[in-house]
């Protein structure tokens, strides 16, 4: 991800000073990641977009309390997670079968039927291992990066990955 290249303390300082340009730069780099993160959590595309945008709006609204030296993108992940949980509490989660898997996932090079089966199994993973696993496989993030963003230990990330693989293997039956 490109966000390593951004100088976060500086960006955060800008946002704190109501600088819309700084906000836009943060948004352009992190919005796709936050959107994906929320979509991994069984949110449909529209909800994921709404929550991801709301996350950034919250950042802007609380800009005066930002501590630029301490700000990291993990703030956005935990806020997005909280907003998602709120959403789930208010709206009964869409039944898994009702969720349009095809809308969310881009078919890869592989045979679509096989791909489709794989995604259906991924859908069944518990939320935490699922988002950790997808951040690693889809976005190619290092465990360290995932750990930082989700404020987990690397060990926990490793355990989520291992767990997800075991479940997937069982679901796929091979």
């Amino acid at each position: 991800m490109a966000d390593e290249t951004l100088d976060w303390p500086k960006i955060a300082e800008g946002i704190r000073n109501s600088d819309e340009q700084a906000m836009e730069r943060a948004f352009r780099v992190l919005y796709p990641a936050i959107y994906r993160y929320v979509s991994y959590k069984n949110a449909d595309t529209e909800t994921a977009e709404d929550i991801a945008q709301e996350t950034f709006l919250r950042l802007w609204q609380s800009r005066e309390n930002l501590d630029p030296r301490r700000f990291t993108p993990s703030w956005l992940y935990s806020t997005a997670n909280r907003l998602y949980l709120n959403h789930v509490r208010h709206v009964r989660v869409v039944e898994e079968s009702a969720r349009e898997v095809a809308l969310l996932y881009e078919p890869g090079d592989v045979d679509t039927a096989v791909e489709d089966r794989l995604w259906r199994c991924i859908e069944k993973l518990p939320p935490q291992p699922k988002s950790t696993f997808l951040m690693s496989r889809v976005e190619n993030l290092k465990y360290r990066e995932i750990a930082d963003r989700l404020e987990l230990s690397v060990k926990t990330v490793e355990a989520h990955i291992g767990r997800a693989l075991k479940w997937l293997r069982e679901c796929l039956g091979d």
């Binding site: 000073n17 948004f27 959107y35 595309t45 881009e106 592989v110 794989l118 496989r137 291992g162």
Partner: protein
């Protein structure tokens, strides 16, 4: 039997490529010795590899930003509404339009008013600025918090929030520096006048420095500044409420100011007259009518142009 190789965490570490060469050798010999578990681990590795090409559909960042942007503005505006004035929404649009320069993270924000309009705006430090017609203010949006400095052309009334960092207005070669106060600056052509309403204001030109207390003003005289003189500072700022106070000013200045405020063209003869009085500029015709009455002139209208004529002796 050692089944640490089957722990979630170990499997995650293995497939993530974080095992040391020694651990890897150890794992391989263990797998060879325990074929059943070995086969199981290899099947997990296959799942890992299969999921390496997963792709998800992205959300359109441009569209999302376009959606979010007005909401950012809206939150900024809610704060402004709590102030005594309702801020002109158009000023916010002008901020966007006026951002005409982006150089190495320096963002020059320009807010300009046209003839016939005034604008109220908030600077990033929440200082309030009211721009008179045909005026322009400019500042570095990125560094403003550290260096409160604006450039002004035309006329503006400032209500500056008190902070440790001084607030400086540069108008031509005259610099006005304050900590927190309200004052009016008029900088039209070579004429620059700074009037202090509250607090203390420090004004510098190339050659002089003058300190103003409330109720005092100074103006540029060549490269220097005049001695402070008393003014009714509230009159100096009365243009904000559509009233222009003039005290023995050339009639020409009065016409120019009306043209500027009302966005009209006043065709007039060159007259060597001075004018004193209050002109209401809520409506152009009313303003011109008022000046004509006082100065013994009459006027007529054709399209957007108003013609002021010297009144002939009785009748025509």
């Amino acid at each position: 039997m050692s089944d640490r190789f089957l722990h979630d965490e170990f499997i995650g570490r293995w497939l993530g490529g974080s095992l040391s060469p020694a651990e890897l050798t150890e794992l391989e010999s263990w797998m060879a010795a325990h074929s059943e578990q070995g086969v199981y681990l290899l099947s997990l590795q296959r799942v890992w590899e299969r999921t390496g090409s997963l792709r998800v559909r992205d959300s359109d960042v441009d569209l999302a930003w376009t959606n979010l942007r007005p909401k950012l503005r809206a939150t900024a505006r809610t704060r402004k509404l709590s102030l005594p004035w309702v801020w002109a929404a158009a000023a916010l649009v002008l901020i966007a339009v006026g951002v005409h320069q982006w150089l190495d993270r320096e963002i020059v924000v320009t807010i300009a008013t046209d003839r016939g309009e005034t604008h109220q705006l908030l600077l990033p430090d929440r200082s309030e600025v009211t721009l008179n017609a045909e005026s322009e203010i400019e500042f570095d949006g990125n560094h403003f918090r550290d260096d409160r400095r604006v450039r002004l052309q035309g006329e503006a009334f400032f209500n500056v929030v008190k902070q440790k960092a001084p607030f400086t207005v540069v108008s031509g070669d005259v610099q006005t520096t304050v900590l927190g106060t309200s004052f009016n600056i008029r900088s039209r052509g070579d004429d620059v006048e700074v009037a202090c309403m509250t607090g203390r204001v420090q004004v510098r030109s190339e050659e002089t420095m003058v300190e103003l207390s409330p109720g005092f003003a100074t103006r540029r005289v060549g490269r220097a500044l005049s001695e402070p003189y008393t003014v009714d500072a509230s009159r100096r700022a009365a243009w904000m409420f559509d009233r222009l106070h003039f005290e023995s000013v050339p009639l020409e200045t009065v016409w120019e100011e009306i043209e500027r405020r009302c966005n009209v063209i006043v065709q007039r003869p060159q007259l060597d007259l001075t004018f004193s009085g209050v002109v209401h500029v809520g409506s152009a015709e009313r303003a011109i009518d008022q000046v004509c009455r006082t100065a013994g002139l009459s006027y007529g209208k054709k399209g957007d142009t108003l013609y002021v004529v010297r009144r002939k002796n009785k009748g025509e």
